[in-house]
């Protein structure tokens, strides 16, 4: 299980039976209720936002929604958010700060949506704003990459105090297919690109991006969704307990340092 290639993990992540946030949210949180809308344009079904209890702690949950059927995926746009999705997330994150609730982000997206409307409504600006605002949010932020962490569309929910990844999850600056089509003008070489890009949880731990790998059962999360949900739950309870004791100023200082030190260069 530990020796799977990035490509093999990608096949596990793309398995249509892999649990989504629709499975995890009821399994991990109690009394969860969803809040809709960014108060500016509309509501984006690609991101669920809401509040619930994690054990006995009220938390805000922001989760990217993959569907299992074509109908579900049509509704959630294959988990590719529009700007209003990111703006809803920011609105609810600020509310979390106001009411001293930790924020739990569940990341699972191929990337932010690329389309005319998304451009017109400022996809770039929406993501940028999240990066900046989450950096100084005075409440704990914990992100868990469940399946795909697709570039800026994932990062917009992953400026956090701690980033965890399920053991088969991937997180990349560009999709392997996209990289292959740029590098070799041939999208079908995505398997090769997949290995070159260094996108597994273990790779990301080495870069200081991933702080915790949550082990999936053999065969991947889909072989035992309950057990996977339990593992995520245990990690979150532990992380929230640790981070809640850190004073807000120290928390944001540490968060900035976490990202500040990432980069490889000589001087």
């Amino acid at each position: 299980m530990n020796n799977l290639s990035a490509w093999e993990r990608m096949e596990i992540v793309h398995n249509k039976n892999r649990p989504t946030v629709n499975d995890y949210i009821p399994a991990i949180f109690t009394r969860f209720m969803e809040f809709h809308g960014d108060r500016l344009f509309g509501d984006d079904a690609a991101i669920i936002g809401g509040i619930g209890f994690l054990s006995d702690v009220p938390v805000t949950v922001l989760a990217q929604v993959k569907g299992k059927t074509l109908d579900e995926n049509r509704r959630t746009n294959f988990s590719m958010p529009h700007p209003e999705g990111y703006r809803k997330a920011l609105r609810l994150a600020r509310q979390a700060e106001k009411f001293h609730r930790p924020v739990i982000c569940l990341v699972d997206t191929p990337g932010a949506y690329c389309g005319i409307e998304a451009e017109k409504r400022g996809q770039g600006e929406a993501i940028a704003k999240n990066l900046a605002e989450f950096m100084t949010l005075k409440t704990p932020v914990i992100s868990v990459v469940l399946g795909e962490g697709g570039s800026g569309g994932a990062l917009a929910l992953a400026v956090c105090d701690e980033l965890a990844m399920l053991s088969n999850a991937l997180y990349s600056v560009i999709s392997p297919r996209g990289a292959a089509s740029i590098l070799w003008k041939d999208g079908s070489k995505e398997k090769e690109a997949c290995e070159i890009l260094k996108i597994t949880a273990e790779d990301l731990s080495r870069f200081g991006v991933c702080d915790k790998i949550i082990k999936e059962p053999d065969g991947g999360a889909q072989s035992n969704p309950e057990q996977t949900a339990d593992s995520i739950y245990e990690y979150l309870v532990d992380a929230v307990a640790r981070l809640k004791t850190v004073p807000a100023d120290k928390l944001t200082e540490n968060r900035y340092k976490k990202f500040r030190k990432i980069g490889m260069f000589t001087e």
Binding site: A112, C114, G115, E119, G122, A158, I182, I196, D203, F265
Partner: protein, 302 residues
């Protein structure tokens, strides 16, 4: 008529000795002198290069503001002799062991006479002191890797400490995929540095130049207190081809232009190159920064 056609006709006329008109095939390969003419990528009109350069590399016909090297931008922006560069000795490593990456960076560095795709430093503009960053699209399409991210972050941190305004001339193809996830993290890092500068009361002016796209649009480039764009430049998140592939239809020509972004509400004002120094210095004056020295005009200033 495009340049190749024009040259073919000219060459055909010169070689016509009136006995037998030249076979078209003989003059198919014509050499166009590299530095003689400029063909505008927007309107396809052709001009003498001298005319184009004297017009600050702005298309005389359609007003497209073409890409500049960092040296040209600096010369047009900063007061002469005022620029003090930062971090000229940072050099990128190869985080994911990407094939031939070091080679490529080194070649760009020697071609562009700078260590990386952004030049940062401190200067005065018409006497007003600021921290400045200039991205150069000739350097790997000014993609953002570790060094670009670090230079931007340090520039903002320095400005925060010294209570200086920051002016960033942005241009980029986005995050530098050759550095893998490390390049994505530069988006968070630079955005964090902008936020801390902003929270400390700092002024940040983003000047979007051709092309500002991808992970740079989705980070520090979109976080200015004031966002300026040059006329006709490309500004967007996703690449045009990616969108066309997604939606399977052709996009209108002005899609993602500076003017389009202003209509959509993401650009405060579009400023002509010849007016840029005056605009920037006026903004600094309006924010109460002191004038430090005389304002000797730079070459080509209006």
């Amino acid at each position: 008529m495009d340049i190749e056609e024009l040259f073919k006709v000219v060459k055909a006329r010169f070689t016509d000795d009136s006995h037998n008109s030249p076979d078209k095939n003989e003059v198919r390969d014509v050499e166009i002198p590299q530095d003689l003419l400029f063909k505008c990528p927007r309107c396809s009109n052709v001009f003498y290069n001298d005319e184009f350069v004297n017009n600050r590399k702005v298309c005389p016909k359609c007003n497209y503001h073409a890409r500049l090297t960092w040296q040209e931008r600096l010369e047009m922006t900063a007061d002469e002799g005022s620029f003090i560069p930062f971090d000229e000795n940072l050099h990128s490593l190869n985080p994911i062991g990407f094939p031939r990456y070091e080679e490529k960076v080194q070649k760009c560095a020697s071609d562009c006479h700078t260590n990386e795709a952004i030049v940062t430093g401190e200067c005065t503009i018409r006497g007003y002191r600021c921290v400045i960053g200039i991205m150069d699209s000739h350097f790997m399409m000014a993609s953002m890797g570790s060094v670009v991210g670090e230079k931007i972050t340090r520039a903002f941190e320095y400005a925060t400490q010294k209570k200086l305004p920051v002016i960033m001339f942005t241009a980029s193809g986005g995050a530098r995929m050759q550095e893998g996830i490390v390049s994505l993290m530069q988006m968070a890092k630079t955005s964090g540095a902008v936020k801390l500068h902003s929270d400390a009361g700092g002024l940040y002016i983003a000047v979007m130049t051709d092309p500002t796209t991808g992970g740079v649009t989705a980070s520090f480039a979109s976080l200015g207190d004031i966002t300026i764009a040059e006329p006709k430049v490309l500004i967007g998140f996703a690449g045009r081809r990616v969108i066309e592939d997604t939606i399977r239809q052709r996009l209108p020509d002005d899609f993602q232009s500076a003017e389009f972004q202003q209509d959509c509400g993401f650009v405060d004002m579009i400023v002509e190159r010849g007016m840029m120094r005056r605009r920037l210095s006026n903004i600094l004056k309006l924010h109460g920064f002191p004038k430090e020295r005389g304002n000797k005009p730079v070459k080509n200033e209006e």
